[in-house]
Amino acid sequence: MDPEIFDVEGADVAWCPGCGDFPILRTLKAALAELEIDQKKLVLASGIGQAGKLPHYLKSHTYNSLHGRALSPAAAIKAVNRELTVIVTSGDGDMYGEGGNHLMHTIRRNPDITGIVHNNMVYGLTKGQASPTSQLEMKTPLQVEGVSLEPFNPLAVAIALDASFVARTFAGDVEHMKEVFKEAIKHKGFALVDVFQPCPTFNKTNTYRWFKDNTYKLEDSHNVYDRNESFKRAIETEKYPLGIFYKNENRLTFEETLSVYSEESSPLFERKTDISKVKDLIELKRSVQ
């Protein structure tokens, strides 16, 4: 499949030149094309922020939601129609700040969707304030003395919650990113992909160069099924590992737990309520309960 099928004609892209969102967008299209994903069955959900605009630049069904809330509708979309491929594109503010509670519980719920977090360690759309992943001492117009809150570690949190797929990649390494995206989308269950993404406008510290110098790839020998080992690797900060940290393929997906699919597989919009059944139910109230 040609990735151009996902191009949006005449899209007025709102990202700054040199933004790490561009390679993420390109790579996601390439990954979808290689996986032969039917765009008529593809829903991109997003929240608010620069990353949340991605669905407008990738031709698909789109649910651009409220700030921090994309995971909730995404899980529900998948639940009512399992034939759809559902991907959430979000940023560090959207997913780890405003939407933190939903992230935690979506990991527990384990819908078969993918969450891609453009993590540039800064707020872009609101122009340069600290994000949950901003590094200590980074000065911003609001954190005038420098960031003093411990950076949020999404991978460690996800592994602690026994997420079914946890990975990190880097917008400066397109091949790596594509392979991780493909694995995440193919994975059955909730897949969290944190993407290190340089923000040339507001984050002068965590540049392409900085990410290159401060990351390395997990060895092929890393056992993705070893939760303790994966957690250890997730809390490394000397240099940040990239790759698939952890997988748990034994967890049931949210959809698999739903009784609506125990006897029938059709999407819910195809199912009509039989009014006579409601009537029968009411009629039971004529006798002693």
Binding site: V8, Y63, S65, A75, A76, A79, L84, L268, R271, E283
Partner: protein, 574 residues
């Protein structure tokens, strides 16, 4: 002897601590009363605690149809020591108080009949049987056949095993003996006319009726966060989810609940969420989202007194303003406020269809009182009324544009995965395709397109029901659950000068409302809030200031007596 006890209508109140089993007695008695051929109504008030405190349940037994709370207590079953004090303002010289001799040993009053319920219960097998003995005694006093009482006991306790059932049947028999003695004492003379037809009627609970309405409205997805008094609707839907192809999910919070609902609705499943004021406050951002992405959702709100957590287990009508103005920006909506079971069923079913037809958020604004009441009616779904659900989903083609600007503002609604088109929705202002835009001319058109839908919604408004004479001098206005007490008060006053205008949809306001108001010499509105929120809405929409405002905001519903008192006063002023 109490005059009421020889009348056509008895009010029995059971009062005890949380955890003492009042609900079990209520459940048995309401069934027994109905099967015995009487009309029955029950209502409860309870504290926000799992054990202790004082909770009470009223059971009215009548030869006439009743669906309202009364202050009057004819028979009080005091299960706890504190019951008498808890209800002191409602106990009159005519109230007969019955309680356990041990529990009430410190209570010295001539009107208290002490019976060794606990002692007998222990001889049967344990104190848990005391309530059943009391229920049996009441059932006997009400002249309900013992076979009927046993039938109720059996239905309720069969699943708990033979031993417990046997004990309960024995307890019931002991209760009947006590009832015989009470009747012989001459203190009771209850002569309520029985109607064998009632035996076969429906005995319904408020929340169940809303639940049936949701099922009939084709609900396919519900996510909610538990909150009194709407948890019971969540329980209802969860319980019936398998049989009716519904996904029920307990969300991590109300924000997730409504956002999941909107996602499900976007993908074609009729969606519902239920909450109360505080929970709804968290949902309001998504009300704006529903309006913006034109994705239907039904929101059931069980009102309780606020602000903030307020009185969690009690009743109110304080959230009309919150619902009316919820969400950022301007977006159309509809608000239903049914006041009886028939309307609760049909308005709920209608809510789903109006939501779908106009692709908007629709509210069912009810309250704790309405959720918790029981009464009997002959039928809920009549043969004549054919229930049809509106089909709003279209199969898309490649040129599909989700927000195509058309005459009535209602763009054809596509969903992902059905047809060849792409369905793009955005919480930002968007173009016809659904993509983000800052074209300010297009913005203006989109606002107008969304608000245009209000014209259709107004045409579909359910008019208020005028109850009473057409040439009224006094017009009583009520909405939602005040229907019951207002209706009964008017029935009792038998005035040919007072009529009742009952609103089952409060927004948009019915366009001819002003005509009704102007035809009255005096108008009075009853509301369970302190600011007359609906009265203010009427003024805003019509310019008409309702003359008198009867407002109650202590967490209890209006009683029939209170409404009568207020109406008598205004009547005398004419």
């Amino acid at each position: 002897m109490s005059e009421f006890l020889s009348g056509e209508d008895v009010s029995i109140v059971l009062c005890g601590e949380a955890g003492q089993g009042i609900q079990t007695v209520e459940a048995i008695l309401v069934q027994a009363v109905k099967l015995g051929g009487y009309n029955v109504f029950s209502s409860k008030e309870y504290m926000s605690r799992v054990r202790g405190g004082e909770n009470s349940t009223q059971i009215r037994v009548s030869s006439k149809r009743i669906n309202a709370y009364v202050d009057r207590i004819d028979i009080l079953i005091a299960i706890s020591k504190g019951a008498i004090n808890h209800l002191k303002e409602r106990i009159s010289e005519n109230t007969i108080i019955i309680g356990d001799e041990e529990t009430l040993k410190d209570v010295v009053r001539p009107d208290v009949i002490k019976i060794p319920f606990l002692k007998i219960a222990k001889s049967i097998g344990g104190p848990i049987y005391a309530n059943i003995i009391a229920a049996g005694a009441l059932s006997r006093v009400l002249n309900i056949d013992k076979e009927i009482f046993d039938e109720c006991i059996t239905a309720m306790f069969l699943r708990k095993g033979e031993k417990i059932l046997k004990g309960d049947l024995e307890a019931g028999a002991e209760g009947y003996k006590i009832g015989d003695d009470l009747l012989k004492s001459g203190k009771f003379k209850i002569e309520i006319q029985k109607d064998p037809e009632i035996r076969n009627e429906l005995l319904l609970n408020g929340i169940d009726v809303f639940g049936y309405g949701c099922l009939a409205g084709g609900v396919k997805f519900m996510s909610s966060y538990p909150m009194t008094p709407t948890t019971s609707l969540q329980v209802f839907i969860a319980r019936h989810s398998k049989d009716f192809d519904i996904i029920f999910e307990q969300a991590e919070d109300e924000i997730a609940a409504i956002n999941m609902g909107l996602g499900a609705s976007y993908a074609g499943a009729r969606a519902l969420t239920a909450t109360s004021g505080s929970g709804f406050a968290l949902m309001t951002e998504a009300v704006g989202l529903s309006g913006m992405i034109e994705t239907p959702i039904v929101i059931y709100i069980g009102q309780r007194p606020g602000p903030a957590v307020g009185l969690p287990t009690r009743t109110a009508q304080e959230d009309l303003n919150l619902v009316l103005y919820s969400g950022p920006g301007e977006t159309p909506r509809a608000i239903f406020a049914p006041g009886n079971f028939e309307d609760a069923f049909y308005m709920t079913q209608r809510a789903f269809n109006i939501a779908d037809k106009y692709q908007i958020p629709v509210f069912i604004l009810s309250d704790q009182y309405m959720a918790d009441i029981y009464y009997n009616i002959p039928y809920l779904m009549t043969k004549e009324v054919k229930i049809e659900n509106f089909e709003s989903i279209v199969k898309t083609d490649e040129k599909y544009r989700r927000f195509e600007i058309i005459e009535d503002g209602i763009s054809p609604r596509g969903i992902p995965g059905f047809g060849d088109g792409l369905v793009v929705v955005d919480s930002d202002e968007h173009d016809e395709e659904g993509h983000i835009t800052e074209d300010l001319n297009l913005r203006t058109k989109m606002v107008e397109k969304r608000l245009k839908k209000l014209e259709g919604i107004k045409k579909d408004v359910v008019p208020p029901e005028l109850i009473g004479p057409l040439d009224y001098k006094i017009l009583v206005i009520g909405w939602g659950s005040t229907y019951g007490p207002i209706k009964e008060a008017l029935d009792k006053l038998k005035s040919n000068e007072i009529a009742f205008l009952y609103f089952k949809q409060v927004y948009p306001l019915y366009e001819n409302t002003l005509n009704y108001l102007e035809n009255a010499q005096k108008t009075i509105i009853f509301e369970n809030n302190a600011n007359s929120q609906f009265g203010n809405l009427i003024k805003l929409e019509t310019g008409f200031e309702v003359h008198k405002k009867a407002l109650k905001y202590n967490g209890m519903p209006f009683s029939v007596e209170e409404v009568m008192e207020r109406l008598k006063n205004i009547w005398e002023e004419l």
